[in-house]
């Protein structure tokens, strides 16, 4: 607890007796809410005790609920969360979110056909365009991926009339209808940062039901400076029980040097889970040193100017 917080507490309580503070709410309710007692607050103000972070947070929240206190004083005591979280993710919310993206937007670089992408990048004279052009040609020759077809297939699946699995058919820990046939070493890709990659994933349907209209949904955002770019949704080819399918995960390595994980779960057209567990791939860009930027020219070894 800092002096600033103690001073804010003194200002907030100024003009109100501690007896009045505790009298407003019975002692048992104070304890249940994690609030300090009147005696403890008195000790804090007299610098004979300190409040823990959790106690300060609970006290500030309680005082905010009472109203009548200056927000500046409350912020000095304990700043509120500057931003609210999002509503909880549900299958319906995810379905609405991704249907909006796949049907409304013209397509990210990864949904475009490779030749269109190369043409657009060459036009922009982007710094890395020649390197990426070579990478795309190499990847396109080895992996005949039609990115536009992938997006159209995801859109088709999302607009399929699908039903949420009944409660007794929801996946459980004991079921395991997906096996990965791709070798473990091929699920780890060393890359330069920003380099393009493609994971070639072979799966076997080891469950009793045919895979139809299924997708791989990425957990987390599609890209950050620490995480590789990879599409949020990819279609899974229809696969009968016991059979295998192969799908491609295109991406671009993360900008920062580090080891990062890409995780996908298997979902139905309504974005509800249909198989327990997840696919895990890793991209490793730890071949470049990260270092702190130098100080501004105005700083001297013996201190700021």
């Amino acid at each position: 607890m800092s002096e600033q917080q103690r001073a804010a507490l003194a200002r907030i309580l100024n003009g109100r007796s501690l007896r009045e503070f505790e009298g407003t709410y019975p002692r048992e309710r104070l304890a249940r809410k994690g609030l300090p007692s009147r005696q403890r607050l008195s000790a804090v103000l007299n610098r004979n005790a300190v409040l823990s972070r959790a106690e300060v947070a609970a006290l500030a929240a309680h005082l905010r609920s009472l109203k009548g206190h200056a927000e500046r004083d409350l912020a000095d005591l304990y700043p509120p969360d500057p931003i609210d979280p999002l509503p909880v993710s549900t299958p319906a919310r995810r379905h609405r979110q991704f249907l909006r993206l796949t049907t409304r937007l013209p397509g990210s670089r990864w949904w475009k056909r490779a030749d269109q992408l190369i043409e657009s990048m060459a036009d922009t004279k982007y710094l890395h365009a020649p390197e990426w052009e070579r990478q795309f040609h190499r990847l396109s020759a080895r992996f005949p991926v039609d990115q536009q077809r992938l997006r159209a297939e995801v859109e088709r699946i999302l607009t399929t009339e699908g039903t949420v699995s009944p409660e007794d058919e929801r996946p459980t820990d004991s079921s395991g209808p997906v096996a990965v046939l791709t070798a473990p070493e091929d699920l780890l890709r060393p890359c330069d940062r920003g380099e393009l990659f493609v994971f070639e994933i072979t799966l076997r349907n080891t469950g009793p039901s045919a895979w139809a209209g299924r997708m791989l949904l990425r957990l987390g955002p599609p890209v950050t400076s620490n995480l590789p770019f990879a599409p949020s949704l990819l279609p899974v080819p229809d696969t009968a029980p016991g059979q295998t399918c192969t799908l491609l995960i295109p991406g671009r390595a993360q900008w920062f040097a580090g080891l990062a994980v890409i995780s996908y779960v298997m979902v139905a057209p309504d974005c509800s889970l249909v198989a327990p567990g997840h696919l895990r791939c890793q991209v490793d860009t730890r071949n470049v040193d990260r270092f702190a930027a130098p100080l501004p020219p105005g700083y001297r070894p013996d201190g700021p100017p």
Binding site: M1, S2, V50, S52, R53, A54, A57, D81, P82, I83, D84, L86, V88, S89, T90, P91, T102, L105, P106, S108, Q135, R170, P171, D173, V180, D192, R193, R204, L219, G220, P221, P222, V223, N226, Q254, F256, A257, G258, L259, A260, V261, S263, V265, S272, L273, P276, G277, H278, R280, R286, V288, R290, A292, A293, L295, P297, Y299, R300, G303, P304
Partner: protein, 344 residues
């Protein structure tokens, strides 16, 4: 393997880092190139309407006065507004005195007029929903708010001074975000409490705790095999994170800590700081930090910056330091928390 010509990471204004992340996510989801298309604006406005239906339903003349002036309340956006915000020109933030006096702008040629945008939280939430950021932009906003507060001091330093606590209560102070910690986390916290007690006993002995040109830090991410970025975790799960830093400068590292930027109790929970081992130039520092995953699903990132006990950052111009990203999946997607098995 193709190799790129990489430039050294350049320091950037805090809010520009946030708006660049927003732009990156927009483009990754089909927002095309840096140009902002009309369909992109439609998607974003639908997300704004989904999150703030009651606010947008009010007639403009009945909205709070603030909404007419600085637009701090949610509103539908235009392509021009988004383009200006993403490129850091929607508002000019006052530059801290230490940055104005540093000569940084002259040496890099950066335009002093359009230095950063003021980003309202409602727009960050809307971007997060519209472009499937899974809460990452929201957590990044918390980081940006905290670091912006730190940067406003002169010289740049933490806005939260090392708080006081009763001597001998170092363990209680470090562990207050870890109710019922695992044995592994508890052991590390007790060990770090001993180090903290020794460090603070030695403080004020005349050492100069100020940044220097001769200081430097590198990392190759060697500690990340245990918990790579993007690791899936359960709500409230405890784990230990390992950073390996190298003293790449000419100064001894002594009395240093890695300070958590932002509120240690929201998002990923950490102690307020962890000690950096004393390290000679060229040496290696192994730093361990206990983490507790948030209870709410989402993608979260922590940033720890190196500093001294007086709160001054060792590398004030850098935005980032030691980082970690964890993902808490939604409850309905986490049946069977293990990766799929391998078959033949």
């Amino acid at each position: 393997m193709a190799r790129f010509r990489h430039r050294a990471p350049q320091p950037a204004v805090v809010t520009r880092a946030l708006t660049e992340a927003m732009r990156q996510l927009r483009m990754a989801n089909g927002g095309g190139t840096s140009a902002v298309s009309d369909p992109t604006i439609d998607v974003l406005n639908e997300a704004i309407q989904e999150l703030y239906p009651s606010t947008l339903a009010e007639p403009p003349q009945r909205r709070p006065r603030a909404s007419r002036g600085n637009r701090s309340t949610p509103h539908l956006v235009t392509a021009d507004y988004i383009r200006s915000l993403e490129h850091g020109r929607s508002a000019t933030l006052p530059l801290p005195a230490w940055l104005r006096a540093s000569g940084y702008l002259l040496t890099t040629g950066a335009d002093p007029g359009g230095f950063g945008s003021s980003v309202p939280p409602w727009l960050v939430r809307s971007y997060d929903l519209a472009f499937a950021a899974d809460g990452f932009l929201i957590d990044m906003y918390r980081w940006a708010s905290a670091l912006l507060a730190d940067h406003q001091h002169d010289p740049p330093r933490m806005s939260r001074h090392l708080p006081e606590y009763a001597a001998g209560a170092e363990y209680e102070y470090l562990s207050e975000n870890f109710t019922d910690p695992s044995d592994e986390v508890d052991g590390l916290l007790r060990k770090q409490a001993v180090t903290l007690r020794a460090r603070l006993a030695a403080s004020g002995n005349g050492r100069v705790w100020l940044p220097s040109h001769e200081d430097g830090s590198r990392t190759r991410g060697e500690g990340e095999d245990l918990v790579p970025d993007g690791t899936l975790v359960r709500p409230g799960q405890d784990l230990l994170y390992h950073w390996v830093l190298y003293n790449a400068g000419e100064l001894d590292w002594r009395d240093r800590f890695l300070f958590r930027v932002g509120d240690t109790g929201s998002g990923i929970r950490t102690p307020p700081f962890v000690p950096v081992p004393d390290t000679a130039p060229g040496g290696r520092a192994d730093i361990w930090c206990p983490l507790r995953a948030p209870d709410r699903p989402g993608t979260y990132r922590i940033c720890m910056k190196m500093g001294w006990p007086n709160g001054v950052y060792c590398f004030p111009r850098t935005l980032l330091g030691a980082m970690a990203i964890l993902i808490v999946p939604p409850a309905d997607l986490t049946v069977g928390h293990q990766p799929w098995g391998h078959g033949e």
